[in-house]
């Protein structure tokens, strides 16, 4: 696991990873030594509306996957409807994504402080912190930190002698990827099976936890708030480019020499920097060639060599047909079997489908079975079109952003690896199928490209 570093020309401060190198960065004592809870103190001197304004000014994009501006999201709660709740989504389970875990393990107070600032800004007195069930150390550290924070008067009644009070409830998940989806997380918090709710009508901001207005934020998103409160939204927005401001954590894994979580300036750093930069990925393992990489978690359409010079900027990546999603960059080198890689990702989604919507429940496992059969040497040429048509039935027109016949995007997520791999590496599929065939299913997504377009390499 590598540590965060600052980047290139300008001096970019580490915002959320500043305490990762401290062996006791998770304790209240060390946290206070390093400026902890100053952001909260400052926020409490401002009006809640002012704090919300600062966050809006920071144009802090949600760091969970959908990338929606946090300040705008807060504003969706219908005015005057109370109680409203804050729910922190710490159910990080996307393959290759492990930034929130490190945030919770190494700097739990920063998250708690971020939650308090958010509660203050939104008008919440009851917050829930939902942590993935398997993250034992994160749970331990958070529980300890929360106890310390309660004892020291940062959480609870009359915080820092103000009339602002918040209770935080810790909740451990039971091991389901789907609970990372916000409405499923709310169901799970309510004690039900973690199945997503249909939006509309169940937008959390309107009808969320216990049918009350609810803000669901990601761990990393909230961890940025102490810094923003202390330094102002403008200072945060000063970093980055376009719609992507501030810094952002990226978890690099796969065939790189130096996998790890890196905090980089958002919007300006390129994939090439991230994968090849010495302080980051440090190049492909064994000097191999890059075959493909997933830019934003297992659900994202794959990128290839020609995308390396795209900046880590939400708009640019979206325009190229994929997404930064949860910030998980998974690298595949030339030794990777594309069919097998697609199967691995598909198998994950098939196993994690909650079973609510028919297309996802039946479609993902059907796709998995076909790919498995291909790998076992029983593929048939017609299987390639069959794979794509099943994808089309889960996500009509195989486009990006995906359309869906399901309630949540888990089902359509299975389409990305298949469409990416089939279109780019069709020969590998045909090799498994014992013959070629014409691909007849129309494919809409922009990243699903057969050959590199003629790209002018970035300077």
């Amino acid at each position: 696991m590598s540590d965060a570093t600052t980047t290139t020309e300008r001096e970019i401060p580490p915002i959320v990873s500043s305490r990762w190198d401290l062996p006791d960065g998770f304790t209240l004592e060390r946290y206070l030594d390093t400026g902890g809870y100053d952001g909260l103190r400052k926020a409490l001197t401002m009006t809640p509306a002012h704090v919300a304004e600062e966050v809006k000014a920071a144009s802090l994009l949600g760091r969970g996957g959908a990338g929606f501006p946090a300040g705008v999201k807060w504003g969706f709660c219908p005015p005057g409807v109370f109680p409203r709740y804050l729910v922190v989504n710490g159910d990080e389970s996307e393959p290759g994504t492990y930034k929130d875990r490190i945030l919770m393990e190494r700097d739990p107070h920063q998250l708690i402080e971020g939650m308090l600032i958010a509660c203050y800004a939104i008008g919440v007195s009851q917050a829930f912190l939902y942590v993935r069930g398997e993250m034992a150390l994160a749970q331990e550290r958070l529980a300890q930190a929360l106890n310390e924070a309660y004892a020291a008067g940062y959480v609870g009644k009359g915080i820092l002698d103000s009339d602002f009070s918040v209770d935080i409830v810790l909740h451990w998940g039971a091991g389901a990827y789907i609970v990372g989806e916000e409405t499923a997380l709310i169901e799970s918090l309510e004690g039900e099976r973690g199945l997503p709710r249909l939006k509309p009508p169940y937008f959390p901001a309107a009808k969320g936890l216990y049918m009350q207005p609810t803000v669901v934020n990601n761990v990393e998103t909230l961890s940025n708030l102490p810094w923003i409160a202390l330094h102002g939204g403008a200072a945060f927005a000063d970093m980055g480019a376009e719609s992507s401001r501030g810094t952002r954590l990226f978890a690099v894994s796969g065939h790189v020499r130096n996998p790890g979580v890196f905090e980089v300036e958002f919007g300006t750093t390129t994939f090439r920097d991230l994968l090849y930069g010495e302080q980051y990925g440090d190049g492909i393992l064994d000097g191999n060639r890059l075959k493909a990489f997933i830019p934003g978690g297992a659900s994202a359409p794959w990128f290839f060599e020609e995308h390396l010079d795209l900046p880590l900027e939400a708009g640019a990546v979206g325009a190229a047909g994929s997404m930064l999603g949860s910030g998980a960059v998974v690298v595949m080198d030339e030794t990777t079997d594309a069919v097998k890689a697609a199967w691995r990702v598909v198998r994950f989604f098939a196993r994690e489908s909650c079973g609510k919507c028919t297309p996802c429940r039946e479609g993902t496992s059907w796709l998995e079975k076909i790919l498995r059969r291909m790998l076992d040497g029983h593929g048939r040429p017609a299987d390639v079109n069959k794979l794509l048509d099943i994808c089309d039935n889960i996500s009509p027109a195989i486009t990006w952003p995906p359309r869906q016949t399901t309630i949540c995007p888990l089902g359509p997520s299975v389409v990305s690896p298949i469409a990416s791999a089939v279109v780019r590496f069709r020969d590998e599929f045909f090799a498994y199928c014992g013959g070629e065939t014409e691909i007849t299913v129309p494919i809409g997504g922009k990243a699903y490209i057969a050959a590199p377009p003629t790209v002018g390499a970035a300077p």
């Binding site: 098939a350 028919t358 429940r361 993902t364 496992s365 309630i407």
Partner: protein, 917 residues
Amino acid sequence: MTDTAAPTTVSVTVDGRTIEAAKGELVIEAAERNGIYIPRFCYHPRMRSVGMCRMCIVEIDTGRGPALQPSCMIECSDGMSVATESEVTRKAQEGVLEFLLVNHPLDCPVCDKGGECPLQDQTMSYGPGESRFVEEKRHFEKPIPVSELVLLDRERCILCDRCTRFADEVAGDPLISFMDRGNQTQVNTFPHHPFASYFSGNTVQICPVGALTATPYRFKARPWDLEQVESTCTSCSVGCRVVVQSSRNRVVRYLGVDVDAVNWSWMCDKGRFDFEAVNSEERLGHPLVREGLLLKPATWNDAYRRAVGAIQQGIDRSGPGGFAVIGGSRLTNESQYAWTKLAKGVLGSDHVDAQLGDGLPAEVVLGVPRATIDEACAPGGTVLLLGPDVKEELPVLFLRLRHAVKNDGVKVVELASTHTAVDDGLSTESLVYRPGHALPVVRALLAGDAEDDVGGVAPEAIRAAAALLVDRPVTVLLGRHNLAESGRSIAAAAAAIHHARPDVKFLSGLRRANVHGALELGMSPGLLPGRVTLDNGRDWFGEHWPTLPAARGMDAAGILRAAADGKIDTLVLLGADPLADFPDRDLAERGLAGARTVIACDQFLTESVKQADVVLPAAGYAEVDGTTTNLESRVTTVSRKVTPPGTAQADWAIAAELALRLGTDLGLESPAAIAAEIAAVAPAFAGLAHDVLRTSAGLDGVLVGLPIRRNGDEGLAAGEPVPATARSAGTEGEQARVVAAEATAEPGAAVAAELGASGEPDDAAGAEAEGEATEGEATDGDATEGEDRAPGGPEVGVQLPVWTIIDPPLLDAYSLRLAVTRKLYDRGTLVRSSPSLADLAEPATLRLHPHDFDRLGVGVGDDVRVTSNRGNITIPTQPDPGIPRGIALIYANQAGGRANVLIDGNAPVTDVRVERP
């Protein structure tokens, strides 16, 4: 948000057609109402939408471009455009169907659902036509029993959440649930907790595939071999509308029909599966006559000769008072009328009682303003339970009540002596009173300012409950919970409520199928058909019937006492088993032994029928046509589907034949002809001929005996059909109602006039009726008893008498006060004769509060002797924290110990002693 000026309808374009939809109406509903069917599996109109199956996915454009959305989740909004047949919709629906079939075993040829399967049907209509799935399908052990009655095939299951939603939302028995996830998701029970719900059969009916099958029907028939007829369930008095299906002249299945006013398509398992009793080998197929100690098969001719001889001798010896009839509450209205006419109008005896001492005095049921189920469940009201454990005795009413509490803010105040099903989260206040103290508790409740305990109920509880009766519409569910507490004390409590709060309405909770028909048709001492007392109807019926009783007769208890004293020459048992059902078994035994001749008309050789001298086999449910009357006094049809066993006859035909052989032609030749006579002579049934019930307006039933409501049906001119209980379109509670005239209309007029159906208009009594006259008089709910009179007709209505109540004795330190309540499954004839249900009845136990065991010096599960001043039984004990201390609860009519052995019918309550044998 609270824009009251907002329009209540919105305009939506569906497939290019503009339709009007109610605001908030789901797209799937609005489309269907306008003839556009969107395929679906998980959507069910009586349950919350979940949008799981994705079959109803259509392209919906609300201004941001078309997107695929589940039409069962999206509410209509103004300007919305829906495409149910676009290329995108079609491909998506085809895809969903292909997905659903991926792991479906496609074993249609051996599947019970094949031929009536929504999955099969919609695959034909909307499916891709061929399967591309060549992989191994998902496998589960199958079938697995989820309950005694229901089997689950998890491979066929398409995980639509209907059964699990039903169990949780509707029945309140969340005992089946999804387990595992993704492709391994399955419906299952929790370990060691079977789906033991009284409503489990509904899951089989709503399952859109053959995943859930019921043991009584499994592999019995193919849907295309079934014949069916619509009828009304007569297992209890709720009157659920059902379809009776038969194959090769055997009843094989009942299905619930969705009727807004009553059962919403639900049934209880007893009602659903007791068709096995119709087919029972134990059914009587030929008459029996006693020769010495033995009942021997006889011809009808011999049996009639014996019966008529006995009746004639009895009349000759003691006059009409020597003839008595007990029972009849399981008969059709038509048979009840025929027997009333025979007993009261031909033989002149008023000793007729359809109830077996386990109900309430007829006067209290007929003498209070009555409510419908919809009125009781109307949003914002309070239901005061002074009656049965609804779930045990009137299960589908429990579902309606549960829905009202969970969804419509209805509050329930319960008065009972033991824990009941409504205590589990339905009742806001449960007042657990000591048996015998119903009247003082009700008085305290009405006064609302209790300072001390009343009848064992804390003053705080009484005050809290009283608050729920103020400023809210109140309905009393009135019945007999505890058979060991005298019915008079409940009747007196009801009368007290009526006198203090005339606005309070009552929903009768008497449980036997057609007991309300029996009361309406005069099968009770002092009454004549059509809610007319013997005294008031003397002139009117004197014109129509050969004779009339000279004076008011005796009820069942009186008849049995008289019989025991040798004063009854001929006792007729009409489908009655007093030895099992009469609360005082000792008296029942002496009565049957003391009657000179006992004639039984029954379907089974019950314990009591075995005591008879002449046994006449009666045709039963699904074997006769006619009508029945439910607890709202709603008359609906029952229909004949199969032939009776052997030479069994309809009860009305037996009455007619007996009358003929006694020298009087009843003039009753068919159920329709009887109905026409009822419509003509019985004021509460005025104009209610069978034709009326066959119109679309009358199919869901016609309320009799209630004052005409003018709300909502002003626009109806005489002769215009009434959109009665419009079955699919009407939203709950607002459908217009067909109400037969009570008093204000002349016989034969009201229903005929309102419905435009031929209510036997040629009949002398009805001929002069004019629609305008009817409407003119019946301006509003002027429901006071006994003051209405139609020109030439009898005075209609029953006066509420004053019941004198003896205070219950103080409980001595060594005794427990007895409570005897009913369970859905008992040793009753229907359950006992239905093999699938018979084993569900629990053996009799003595249920005590856990703390009473030490005091009595008995252990859990020990056999103990329970002794009252009437008799004793020996049964095992069972702890039950739902029972107050000092109470001994025994369920009525269970195997291993008959509680009615203990009950003293003369006393207000019965106390027992419990000892080690």
